[in-house]
């Protein structure tokens, strides 16, 4: 088991945004987290990254208790988050963004990795010396994903990776996700496109209003009528 979350509670002041949630992520699996706006998905990922304080419960990573570990050490351990809303370093160049993605890694191989990312997302090569903030929304999203991959994560936390991406690129991102899984990476996925994310996942959790309401294999949830109604749907 790569990730074990026990009875996690996270609060902003008096409001508990995540309440007593337990979940686990098998090594090498893709696990999807779905839930409506404001359910607490981002909060949960941030708690896993250690950037917001935890009120209760604990987190085990590869058996080690990391509940109180500081964020930079978690990154060093291999827990990488691609944050919601991209958060690129707007004033730094695209290349520098990629370089800093590999901050906790030994220097060797960084250049090769950058080349690989640029091959995947050619815009990152084209605009390599432009400030990241001048990119379009979707281009920034590609940069954010590439930057996350630069860190060689063990556990990748993706928060809405397809946000603002054109359909073709969304497709590509899901291809990357499956490809990464084949390379042995473990992925926890929060995705607006629930249909596609369930399609690539092994297991899924549904949270609503900060609490876990449903879990099961991805296949099982895909045929759950409640899930279909609110998260998958057929047409608008």
């Amino acid at each position: 088991m790569m990730l074990d979350v026990h009875h996690l509670t996270v609060a902003y002041g008096p409001i508990e945004a995540v309440r007593d949630i337990s979940l686990n992520v098998e090594t090498g699996a893709i696990v999807t987290l779905i839930g409506p706006n404001g359910a607490g998905k981002t909060t949960l990922l941030n708690a896993l990254s250690g950037v917001i304080p935890i009120r209760g419960g604990n987190i085990l990573f590869n058996g080690q208790d990391i509940t109180r570990m500081s964020p930079h050490r978690r990154v060093a351990e291999g827990i990488i988050q691609v944050p919601e809303g991209r958060l690129v370093l707007a004033g730094m160049t695209v290349r520098e963004n990629l370089e800093i993605g590999a901050y906790r890694r030994p220097r060797s191989g960084i250049a090769a990795d950058i080349a690989r990312m640029q091959e995947r997302f050619p815009i990152l090569k084209e605009r390599s010396e432009a400030p990241a903030g001048s990119l379009s929304g979707g281009e920034q999203q590609m940069l954010a994903i590439a930057r996350g991959l630069m860190a060689h994560p063990k556990l990748l936390l993706l928060d809405e990776p397809s946000l603002g991406l054109a359909p073709l690129v969304v497709q590509m991102v899901f291809d990357i996700v499956t490809e990464l899984q084949q390379k042995g990476l473990t992925i926890l996925l929060v995705e607006q496109n629930a249909r596609q994310s369930l399609a690539v996942s092994d297991y899924a959790y549904v949270i609503e209003s900060g609490a876990m309401v449903l879990e099961g294999s991805a296949a099982k949830l895909r045929s759950d009528p409640a899930v279909i109604r609110t998260y998958l749907g057929q047409s608008v």
Partner: protein, 255 residues
């Protein structure tokens, strides 16, 4: 009748040509979609329409009036409101305060009656507040009214931004990726809202990458690629356009 006419708009950023001779028009009372690959120039076009960025060349007619040189606040006062792709709320204000601030163009709130403590001032405040509350409930945020914008989740922020844009009762509403970060159920709610707005006579011009949303909602769609219009047409024709499929849609595997 065309409410908005975009004539030969070009925009350069240093060496990058974000828009190159864009021409099309948006009909009064319709929902018009703008799609295209990442970096095609959609947001740039929206910025030009709303007066946030001047075009390098070209004209924009808004109900017959040339607006391409007007500052953003003047454009807005002609009845155009917008949302931002990367969401720009008033973070320290509560949700309802955001909407009240959005009423700027329709709420007069004169100073003198206030200084004299006339009851009309308070009555007015009360009315505007109720109006703001109604707008909030249109986007499903009525029970978040007293929460600060900065503590909303991503999807909630998007909706609050729409509410704030609606607060000024614009004739033309520009939405940049209104349903980004929303799941099926929530997307339907926003779609429903946009439909109602169009039914009330508002013209909506929106950018979105969620194809089922765009296709179901828009009566006309313009496709941009590399700063140029590939085609403008009905959802059906657009989605079957080979260039559009090649450059943008791809072959959808999941449906």
């Amino acid at each position: 009748m065309a409410l908005l006419e975009i004539q030969n708009i070009t925009r350069m950023f240093g060496g990058v040509c974000a828009l190159n001779g864009v021409n099309f028009s948006v009909e009064q009372g319709k929902i018009h979609g703008l799609i295209g690959p990442n970096g095609a120039g959609k947001t740039t076009l929206l910025n030009i329409l709303s007066g946030m960025t001047p075009p390098t060349s070209g004209n924009i007619l808004f109900s017959g009036k040339n607006i391409h040189m007007l500052p953003a606040c003047r454009v807005a006062s002609l009845g155009m409101a917008r949302t931002f792709q990367n969401i720009r709320l008033f973070p320290a204000m509560t949700c309802i305060e955001n909407v009240i601030a959005g009423q700027h163009l329709i709420a007069s709130r004169p100073l003198l009656p206030r200084l004299l403590q006339l009851p009309s001032a308070w009555r007015q405040d009360h009315e505007y507040e109720e109006d703001a509350m109604a707008t909030l409930s249109r986007v499903g945020l009525e029970n978040r009214a007293q929460v600060r914008a900065q503590s909303l989740s991503y999807g909630e922020r998007r909706r609050l931004e729409i509410a704030r844009a609606l607060a000024s009762r614009p004739r033309l509403l520009l939405l940049d990726e209104p349903v980004a970060g929303m799941r099926h159920g929530e997307v339907s709610q926003v779609a429903e809202l946009v439909r109602i707005l169009a039914g009330e006579g508002m013209t909506v011009f929106l950018i979105e990458h969620n194809m089922s949303f765009v296709m179901a909602l828009c009566s006309r769609i313009t496709v941009l690629n590399f700063g140029q219009v590939i085609t403008t047409g009905s959802p059906d024709t657009v989605s079957r356009h080979p260039h559009v499929i090649e450059a943008y849609l791809g072959v959808d595997k999941s449906s």
